[in-house]
Symmetry: C2
Subunit: 137 residues, 2 copies
Amino acid sequence: MKKKIEFRSQCPISTALDIFGDKWTLLVIRDLLFNGKRTYGEFLESEEKIATNILADRLSILEMAGIISKKKHPDSNAKILYNLTAKGIDLIPVLIEIIAWSEKYHDVHPYAKKFAKQLHKDKEKVVRQLFENFTKK
Amino acid sequence: MKKKIEFRSQCPISTALDIFGDKWTLLVIRDLLFNGKRTYGEFLESEEKIATNILADRLSILEMAGIISKKKHPDSNAKILYNLTAKGIDLIPVLIEIIAWSEKYHDVHPYAKKFAKQLHKDKEKVVRQLFENFTKK
DNA sequence: CTGTATCCTTAGGGATACTG
DNA sequence: CAGTATCCCTAAGGATACAG
């Protein structure tokens, strides 16, 4: 099930939306970034309940776009580990700003409020720490 | 054609995606923020060629979400002017980060590259100026 | 456990005509 | 000019079974 991404224009916003402009893709990236999830099964468990076919589709798009990479789990052959590439890690500031905006105007989980508070205090630091988490691996 | 937004969870990312997680909504906001567009007809002209029914749908969602507001054009009765609310203006950092990411990894318009260069030099300043543009009106 | 495949329903969306 | 309405088709997505 291979399909290439069609870009509607050379506008950077439009280009980004052609990759992750849907209701699911950024949730997978969220799980990788903030929830330490790495495997197919873990993504399926998230509370928004993504369907298995949609997950497989989005993972293949993300891999094609160079945002995630796959490798075998050291223990089991069947198990696969997904990881963010540098391009994926660079989405941290985008996610951070979405969280900050959303928390300001909507009712969100308590832990999200707490996280937003940290952001408000020292955004630079939070972003730097997130980057460090992923680049030292 | 009124429909309310269904939120899948209280995750801030998920909540944001429930509002603008599609291929068109952020393009309308882009046009308001960066291209000075204010009317229905102007949105229709954008190069990605949004369909008239989709545009009407997204405008009503954005209004319902409190991101844009409508008012009559001073000259003509029929003409309507759309404007960003404070909640809409607060999406500036989100759009800015998307532009920065997209420009880094994809082929974009020359003027987008130029804009990204400014961002790279002094992001704070660019953001501040964008905010000022909208809050003084 | 990681996907694929299938079936089926709904939502998204393009084209176009039309109304106030 | 700002929408609505309609037609129609495709894509998205949920449920479930199944294959490697």
